[in-house]
């Protein structure tokens, strides 16, 4: 099976400032990967390389079987849905619906297919009730979801999201989680930059950590989130559920709320309060 995304020994620098050094990792179809690291570790550069906004100095970025070096961003849009930070500033249509359909329409799929994809994306993020609203009449958090819906509507094989949950409350985060898990079940690959480890724990399964432009680790997110000693140098704190699992020594050290709840229930049934 061809990986949805593969970075091979990728190096990149802005002028004389190195941003990435021989970074390699890949994301399989349906896989959900968190891209972690401090500010300036090179995460945003990875996104720009995948979207075709920059070309690697050395190495190759493969999106499916396309070498991004041979593609312009509007071609890569067929396979990559990118949502950048401040994506709410890219909205311009008079209704949420029109804005969400901009992507598929720009790709030139048939009008009926545009409608279908738009409906599905709006539904996935519970935006159907707002479809006729003006994006700028919505609170910023819903504008952010509208931008995300725009990327979903293009139905790419790979979704690359930069901090999708800033400014979202727990209910909206849960919507994003649900929509992303649903797409991933349909073998869409996910690469998500985030500082929000609660969201990452609920949504993603693997963590790729960059440190000053190099790959620092690439492993299961659950193992990473439970380990304070490794999170702290990244400026991250373990999410409350992972902290709870560790403090109570719950079996299997679950990091997702549902798993922790199930483990708690088992523990409570198994042995009474000491």
């Amino acid at each position: 099976m061809i990986a949805a995304l593969r970075l091979e020994e990728v190096s990149f620098s802005y002028g004389s400032v190195p941003a990435l050094e021989r970074v390699s990792f890949s994301v399989a179809p349906g896989e959900r990967v968190a891209l972690l690291g401090r500010n300036g570790a090179g995460k945003s550069t990875v996104v720009r390389l995948i979207a075709g906004l920059q070309r690697p100095d050395e190495g190759t970025v493969w999106v499916g079987d396309w070498d991004t070096r041979d593609c312009v961003p509007e071609q890569l849009a067929w396979r990559v849905g990118s949502v950048f930070q401040h994506a709410d500033q890219q909205l311009f249509a008079r209704t949420v619906r029109d804005d969400v359909s901009f992507g598929p329409r720009a790709l030139g799929v048939g009008e009926r297919e545009v409608e279908r994809r738009t409906d599905r994306a709006l539904e996935d993020l519970d935006l159907t009730a707002h479809a006729g609203h003006h994006p700028y009449d919505l609170p910023p958090a819903l504008r952010k979801l509208t931008a995300l819906a725009g990327a979903l509507a293009s139905e790419p094989a790979l979704l690359v999201l930069d901090e999708p949950t800033i400014g979202l409350d727990r209910t909206l985060r849960a919507r994003v989680t649900r929509a992303l898990l649903d797409r991933s079940a349909g073998s869409v690959a996910l690469l998500v930059i985030t500082h929000d480890l609660t969201f990452a724990a609920e949504t993603l399964e693997r963590g790729v950590v960059l440190d000053r432009g190099s790959l620092a680790c690439d492993e299961s997110l659950a193992a990473l989130l439970g380990d304070v000693t490794r999170l702290e140098p990244l400026g991250l704190a373990p999410p409350p559920v992972a902290a709870l699992s560790a403090a109570l020594d719950l079996p299997g050290r679950p990091v997702r709320a549902a798993d922790a709840a199930a483990a708690l229930a088992r523990v409570a049934r198994g042995k009474p309060v000491p």
Partner: protein, 189 residues
Amino acid sequence: MSIRLLALIPVATAISLALSAAVDAVALPLFLDTTGTILATALAGPGVGIATGIVTSAVNTLRNPTFWPFVVVQIIVALYAWVAARAGLFRSFRTAIPAGLGLGVIASLTSTPISYFVFGCTTTGGIALATALGKALGLPPLGACFFGSFVSDFGDKAATFALVTSVLHGLPRRTAARFPWALRAMGAA
């Protein structure tokens, strides 16, 4: 002036200057550098529009000093946009584009003497080339200069008026209603 309208002026000015990035991306021979002036006038009237025009010229001057004498053009643009807004000419492209073409004529009539007497009609590459073309066609110097300004101006002003119309109609109604002139400019009030 209310703080809201005061805060509008730097934003409108920055819009005029930042749109060059969008124009560069599509590689069209447009400036759109009066967008902020026209938009500010259509939203908030001639005072805010003129202030935007003057500030735009001042900031442009720091990039290229030969822009400063054309501050007169920015002021004329604001006054013309005010008349157009009062007449509700931003109600659709059908009314806005001809109004923009009209502004193209007036703007070139204003900039021609400045360009001719101050700079010998060589302010920007495009205008100078069009002027050279006019000269080659046998036009007298002042006529060639007008020809140059007109060629570069009229399409730009029509595109700018079309863009401002798009913006006014693209604003949420609630936001538009909070700028004193917006609904009138759109022919909606």
